[in-house]
């Protein structure tokens, strides 16, 4: 296997146009947060939440972003949508670099790019009824008139499996699952092409999660939506995704078709992640030998040099401490950032 360097990480050409079927092209996206530390806020520091993130999101696919908390997966989603202004990089959508647009010029694009948050309890304005919350974007973006708004709201509620009588309810009267349906209905109200689901099911009851997962899939079929599904539950990710990107400490570690990621993971972190997931199967669980990662994720305030995973990696060698691994396409459509992948030394199998 050749160590062909991928050229896309270094590409900064603003004239880049999305290739073929890409709905959104993300090129070298970074987000650093400035924070003040110390008892009197005397130390300025920088959180490296997202570094050099490059990715194409294809029309109609479900791309999942997985990783542990603090790995920058939510930041990636928010920065893509320009909810956080990127520190560097481009987000090409419809031939335009969204990162360059002012808030006013961005507004027409916002409608097409929507988000569903993790916590449905705080995503709805407690002072607005469900009907008002859904009607607002419809009216604002001219998707409905005052004359037909009731109907439109009822239709949207129906789309997410709620009866029209929910329109008069306030969010605090609803259960978590119902709220998440309302949030989805409101996101749909704008007629989006692209939906970021930021841990959209993890705050829900176990018996309700499957309903919402199914809802997401139905809506995708009906409206041809493209999803960026941010999650930490790998079993759910396997169920819902077409492609999966694994992140570690602000950087992408591996990206590939779902089947490849789950059956033949390349990056040692992906392997560790997969081996940590428990299965509802007592016999397997008891006999299973886990590859448990030692230690914690290092602080994004001071990320380790070289490969960010080297402090916990069972395969780390000297080179990993020095050099940032390149983003390499090891198999068609399967990318990985690891020096050791493809080396002669056989990588011990985790599972």
């Amino acid at each position: 296997m050749t160590l062909a360097l991928d050229t896309r990480t270094t590409s900064r050409d603003p004239a880049v146009t999305p290739r073929g079927d890409a709905l959104i092209s993300i090129i070298g996206l970074s987000k650093h947060f400035h924070v003040k530390l110390g008892a009197f806020g005397q130390t300025a520091a920088e959180v490296h939440a997202l570094d050099d993130f490059t990715l194409d999101i294809r029309r109609g696919e479900t791309l999942s972003l997985v990783g542990e908390s603090g790995c920058g997966k939510s930041t990636a989603g928010f920065t893509m949508l320009q909810i956080h202004k990127p520190s560097a990089g481009q987000v090409i959508y419809g031939g335009v670099d969204l990162a360059q647009l002012s808030e006013d010029r961005l507004r027409p694009y916002r409608r097409k790019l929507q988000v569903v948050f993790q916590d449905p309890y705080s995503t709805l304005n407690p002072r607005m009824t469900v009907g008002e919350a859904i009607a607002e974007p419809l009216l604002f973006h001219g998707q409905a008139t005052r004359g037909n708004i009731t109907e439109k709201v009822a239709t949207l509620l129906g789309d997410v499996g709620l009866s029209p009588r929910f329109a008069m309810r306030y969010p605090h009267e609803l259960s978590g699952g119902q709220r998440q349906r309302v949030v989805i209905a409101r996101a749909l109200a704008c007629g989006p092409e692209f939906l970021v689901c930021d841990e959209a099911i993890s705050a829900l009851d176990v018996s309700v999660q499957a309903q919402i997962i199914n809802l997401f899939q139905d809506l995708q079929e009906r409206y041809g939506l493209t999803y960026l599904f941010i999650a930490h539950d790998l079993a759910v990710v396997r169920h819902i995704s077409d492609r999966v990107a694994v992140m570690y400490l602000g950087r992408p570690a591996e990206l590939g078709p779902k089947r490849a990621i789950f059956s033949a993971p390349l990056h040692p972190y992906t392997k560790a992640l997969l081996s940590a997931v428990p299965e509802p199967d007592p016999a397997r669980e008891r006999s299973r030998k886990r590859q448990v990662l030692s230690g914690d994720v290092p602080s994004p305030l001071d990320p380790p040099p070289g490969c960010r995973f080297h402090t916990r990696c069972p395969l780390a060698v000297e080179r990993c401490r020095r050099e940032v691994p390149a983003w390499r396409e090891m198999a068609p459509d399967h990318f990985v950032a690891c020096h050791r992948v493809g080396e002669a030394i056989p990588v011990p199998d985790a599972a």
Partner: protein, 330 residues
């Protein structure tokens, strides 16, 4: 199993709401043997945490035990004096809570919090307790051991805090450890570390464990027996292998079916359970799962089925349809 360590009978807990008292735990009975690990599985609001808090007399204001008994080592925990109860807490039953951030006092060093059970149960002096606390930190695999005693909780990572919490629960080597969703706030790789740690400690120290969780997958490799709670009632109880191989209650069946897995074939749609769990204040008269149950018959809506043995043995379920309890006499 002779002489269980803890045996709970007909425990009921009521919470006062604006609509009057609501039973959040309703007639729960279970037992746990010495050295046994019991999983208690249920969704938020099913009463699983409240059950254990009731055992230790730690119910929040507004909640009260409305009946039942909990016998452990010849005493009924529910009727103990404050003083005797205090000796049970931390001394005979160790407790690990869900959120390791809020469960530590932010302004006290972890050492100061870790020595408390040693001081109040073992009568140790501060200095001995401090030394023992250092050993405990090594036991739970905290790098740096005793030197970490001077840290404040916020200076440790979530996984480290949970290890300290486990050390605190185990400090007096209690015969029973109750872990209330100890890994829910943690990442999968850290969760795997904690699960392995607890398994390892159990093998070495031989204590009984009650592990409360909403995650059916998590407990499968961890416990001997599982209780499934729904809306304050036990709907199924079985040895762990039985439960996953032959789930009997439609709720357990639905829950297991709706979990996506890492292995096996993929389906486009998940077989989901419809509806939402009932509000504690407005639970249906009969089986609480009836409104969501695909197998529901008329009787389910008026009468709660008893927990009966399925195919003999220790596997029990409460369902008129699947478990087919014998008609009671008359």
């Amino acid at each position: 199993m002779t002489d269980p360590l803890l045996s709970v009978r007909d425990l009921a807990v009521e919470v006062s709401t604006r609509r009057g008292p609501a039973r959040v735990v309703d007639g729960v009975s279970f037992h746990i043997g010495r050295g046994e690990a019991l999983g208690v599985v249920g969704e938020s609001g099913c009463g699983k945490s409240i059950t254990t808090l009731a055992l230790l007399g730690l119910l929040p204001p507004g909640a009260r035990v409305a009946g039942g008994s909990a016998r452990m080592e010849g005493k009924d925990l529910l009727t103990l004096s404050r003083r005797a109860l205090r000796e049970v807490r931390g001394g005979r039953i160790g407790m690990i809570f869900q959120d390791p951030m809020t469960s530590f006092n932010p302004v006290l060093k972890i050492g100061d919090q870790l020595i408390e059970p040693l001081i109040y149960h073992r009568g140790m002096l501060r200095r001995e307790a401090w030394a023992r606390a250092g050993e405990l930190l090594r036991l739970v695999g905290i790098p740096g051991g005793a030197s970490r005693l001077d840290n404040y909780p916020h200076e440790l990572s979530g996984g480290m805090r949970q290890r300290v919490m486990i050390a605190m629960g185990l400090a007096c080597e209690p015969p029973l450890l109750i872990a209330d969703e100890p890994t829910t706030a943690l990442d999968v790789t850290i969760q795997a570390q904690i699960v392995d740690l607890v398994k390892d400690l159990r093998a070495r120290l031989g204590m009984s464990i009650i592990w409360i969780t909403h995650d059916l997958a998590l407990v499968s490799g961890l416990v001997d027996r599982v209780i499934v709670l729904y809306a304050g009632k036990i709907v199924e109880e079985a040895p762990v292998d039985d439960l996953y191989a032959r789930p009997t209650h439609p709720y357990t069946q639905g829950l297991l079916a709706s979990l996506p897995t890492l292995e096996g074939e993929e389906t486009r749609r998940l077989p989901a359970i419809g509806g939402t769990p009932p509000d504690p204040g407005r639970r249906p008269a009969g089986c609480p799962f009836a409104p969501r149950c695909p197998l529901r018959v008329a009787r389910c809506e008026s009468e709660m089925p008893p927990l009966v043995a399925v195919a003999g043995g220790p596997h029990r379920a409460a369902c008129w349809v699947n478990a087919k309890p014998q008609e009671l006499a008359a």
